[in-house]
Amino acid sequence: MKRFSLLCAGLFLSLSPLIVFAEEQVKRPVNIAAVTTFVIFMVLTLCITTWAARRTRSRHDYYAAGGDIGSIQNGFAIAGDTMSAASFLGLVGLVYLIGFDALYFMASLVISWLVVLIVIAERLRNLGSYTFADAISYRLSKKPIRILSASCALAILIPYLLAQLVAAGTLVEGLFGLNYTQGVIVVGVLMMVYVAFGGMMATTWVQIVKAVLLLGGGSVLAFGVLYAFQFNPEKLVASAVDAHPRGRDLLAPGGLYTDIISVVSLSLAFIGGTAAMPHVLMRFFTVSDAVKARRSAAIAVTLIAYFQIVVLIIGFGAVVMLIDNADYSTGGTGVIGGSNMVAVHLAHYVGGDIFMGFISAVAFATILAVVSGITLAAGATVSHDLFSNVFKDGNCSEAEELMISRITVVMLGILGMYLAVVFEGQNVAILATLPLAIGASTNFPLLFLSMYWSGFTTRGAIYGGYSGLILALLLILLGPNVWVKVLGFEKAIFPYTFPTLFSMGISFLFCWYFSVTDKSARAQQEKDAFPAQLLRSQTGK
């Protein structure tokens, strides 16, 4: 009853910006379908949270949904985590604006999931309990490795959370008529309610509902585009080439990147970074065994690959249907509300106000579901890795750990909302590149080497992990996204957007060098423990 009352309070708090908005609606255009769809989503997900809150009693329930999630559900939840607003609205916008270079992102993203399936999923499930640090520290020194993993995880999750909240605020201005701050508050409060009360169970089901809506909405949109071209992809592509100001160059590489280092760095960032996102890796602990982890990864790969094809069709369709269309275009490839609104405008063109409202609400729900996963992972990192295993040396009660996790979630939510309001109107491209670059340069080498290389030691992990983290941060600071776009200098000291080729390379090199030169007794013990770890990673025993 107490929890139900708290959830009702959460509902009221999250709806309050909408109530304020209702009073202001005379000033702004309102899409009733968008508001209705989103309110239905919100009520449904809060009911799920109430149900999940009743089932969440132990630490295992809170972090890992009691291991009760099935492989199909987990596959959808993982796919939902990957199908963020950036990979839907952003990629459709990129295909529309640039064309071919969007394929670099799509191909790398899909391959990264094959890497997760075959290299990471099962071993991670067998070695860990709640966070990926459990797997890395399995045979290595617990404290320094958990501090390192937590530093890397938070360096990924906080900018990612902020980027999503800023995107949410920006998105609602165009979609619901709410102002920026109200949008941030709606997402922030709902996110805190889902995670603090429902833990992983609620977060997973919110993600599943959103993934189904996004896949369904995207498929209908792609179907609408193909229908207009008699289901002939060649006709679609030819019309897009004719309609786009770049003409035949729409299908030529070079719209964004023209050198091999940039392109390879981008591919490595997507492959390694996506495979090392803490909130995604955490999902492999929600299934009961490694076989289910494998199945869920396989389902996720298939859904994500399918979705990339859908995005490509929508992007090309948008080129034909929106360019020079006075209802949506501001001239050339410019569209009202910016390139992130391309999918939403196309939905209006294909299905009118109701379908546009549906796609808008799904886009907003997408952000909401992803930030919930991020916040839960950050809470688990602070409570499980830092508080319980580092500060308390593992001598911490479940209740105490859960309380710390929930406090972290609320504090992170408030901090995130505050920073998102401060960052209003700022260029947040940096916040989107940081998580991928850091993930690929720190978590990925650490996870991969700890699970596959018997010679890997704590010393190698510390030098390799911190060097990757520092180098990635430094090169991003000196790169075009911060040095030029944020700090206003004329020319970047480091010329590439993604530093991954260098930072990931240095991280692997240092991990290897400082491991092979480690002749200490502890290093020998760690190497000797590898066969037992290998057996455990393969069998779970």
């Binding site: 670099y104 191909a107 094959l114 290299v119 992809p233 592509v237 030529a252 023209t258 591919s267 790969v301």
Partner: protein, 97 residues
């Protein structure tokens, strides 16, 4: 072959299988990147006569399809190997009894 030997050979086979699959896809994406940068003329060439669809688009879709096929193949193959292993384990237990 007893259970321990079978398990050991399974681990070895599986590691090789994973490495081959991962490296082949890693090579696919690196070749794609290199072709795009160094041979843009090839990437923008039509796949068939005057078709609007180019080699680059087909290559990228080929990567996506390859990932989907590899996913199914990997899942099916590993499940099959694990079944063989578990049958061997049951047989040995029965013999022990």
């Amino acid at each position: 072959m007893n259970e321990a030997q079978a398990f050991s050979s399974y681990i070895k086979w599986r590691s090789g299988f994973i490495i081959k699959l991962a490296l082949s896809h890693f090579a696919l994406i690196l070749v794609f990147d290199a072709l795009c940068i160094y041979t843009p003329g090839f990437i923008t060439a039509s796949v068939l006569g005057n078709s609007a669809i180019t080699v680059g688009v087909v290559y990228a879709l080929g990567i996506v399809l390859s990932v989907i096929c590899s996913t199914f193949y990997y899942s099916q193959r590993i499940t099959q190997e694990e079944m063989v292993l578990s049958e061997l384990s049951i047989t040995e237990e029965e013999q022990d009894q």
